[in-house]
Amino acid sequence: MATPSLTMIPSGYKAQKVYSVLPTNGDGDFTFDRNDAGSRVNKNGLIEQVATDIPRLDYSDSSCPSLLLEPASTNLVIGSAEGNYPHLPASLTNTISPDGTNNAVIPTPQYTWIRYQEIIPAGTYLNGQKLTYSWYRKRISTPTGVSVNGDLEVRGLINLTSLESNNATQIESNINGFDRFQVVVEIINGSLESEFRAYVGDVVGVGNSSVAYFGHQFEALPYATSYIPTPITGTASRSAETFSNDFSSQPTVANTNTVVLKFIPMGFSTDFYELLRFSDGTNEIALEGFQTNNYDVYGSGLASSGMVDGALSLDAGSINIISFSYSGTSLRFSHNGSTINTTTPTGNLPTITEVLNNAGGLSPIKILDLRVYNDFKTQEEINTLTTI
């Protein structure tokens, strides 16, 4: 197998820069920016904040880091470590949290209706706006009450519909002993006030203290993004991250290139928001979100419709490898070791001069490995390259 002309495996970085392994002259390095801090899971398995413009190498999925790229988001929960109760539990005990400090909370409810609650003022969002509530949970002992996913029972919603079929979905595991869960809800009528409720009382059991909670986050996106800690005085935002390279001279050559991308898709906000774009400045191939767990390889200037039109099934949160190989007259695609399409392009992608995640609406992605080879490979070769 030929040596890649570009290899970006997240490892070396500095402020505003992600280094590529190849080429070694710096032409393959990527520009990165984020206006403020962001949080990641570090090598020790703890959530930590990294400063403005520092790329996030995130270890939440394995011992090898991925480059975490997310859109802007605001955590609407004031005092996110503890969360908001409309009525305080009988007692609150602190314990070590996923960030390694003593700020997770073990509530002891005195009523079954003790709950976490967030209010969305009337007129804040339109009908159908999706929001996601997420939290970290650690069982100290087995809860004595109702058994529900995430140990918070989502019910009694006002002007909101839960889109979860099983109370909540687990999205992260064992961050310093805590698992993370999310619930996606949808606003029914934006002109009315909405209320999100997640009950502790009847799950933990009145008078019991069997579960620790931490890191409550409520955001106006249809998926949970990385944790945004908020103070007890207000909410907090994290800015969008952009990632790009304009390598007009290197490392691709005209008409014969193969791109291999190992990544984790993490959801998307609106149809056809890009995860990553490969472009010559005019024509492009882009990986885009289509609908839940359905993605699209879009070929602007290369095909009359998507190359793989809304039919590429990728599980959000799981590792995928895709590859496309092109000559001036042919395009081949592969996903996780299988052929997904072979087509004759109507246009041309002569030389890739840009790889970027900085245009359009931005969608969240974790990049584990990105390679470009300067040759047109057989379908068998790219299927081998995409085998996990």
């Binding site: 400063a51 403005t52 009525h87 007129g123 935002s237 609406g361 931005l362």
Partner: protein
Amino acid sequence: MGLHIGKYRFGYGREQAESKIEALGVEQDENGNNYPTHKHTITKLGYEVLEKAVYNGEDVISETVFGEGYLVDVLWRDLQEDEDGLVDHPYGWKTFEVDINSEGIHGFLGLKYQDLKF
């Protein structure tokens, strides 16, 4: 890289805020999705809260009371300096600035309003 944080209150409500935000630069991608063409981070905080809701167990005793002012926080990035080397709000924003002595009800992760305000 220059960062500044501004807090704004638009007395004529959301539409007024939206028009100011749009004037900073918005384009549409080929799929019809709007996206900003600038690098600033804009957080819409919504209408100001005058009175918080009051609860008694499951029941709402009184609902939240909102004012007419629509609040927006902006993390400005790389604003142009004038000939004296000073940086100010973009045109049309200064009128709506709210200068407070605390961090306020919203912040940008890892940054202090008091350190970065104009």
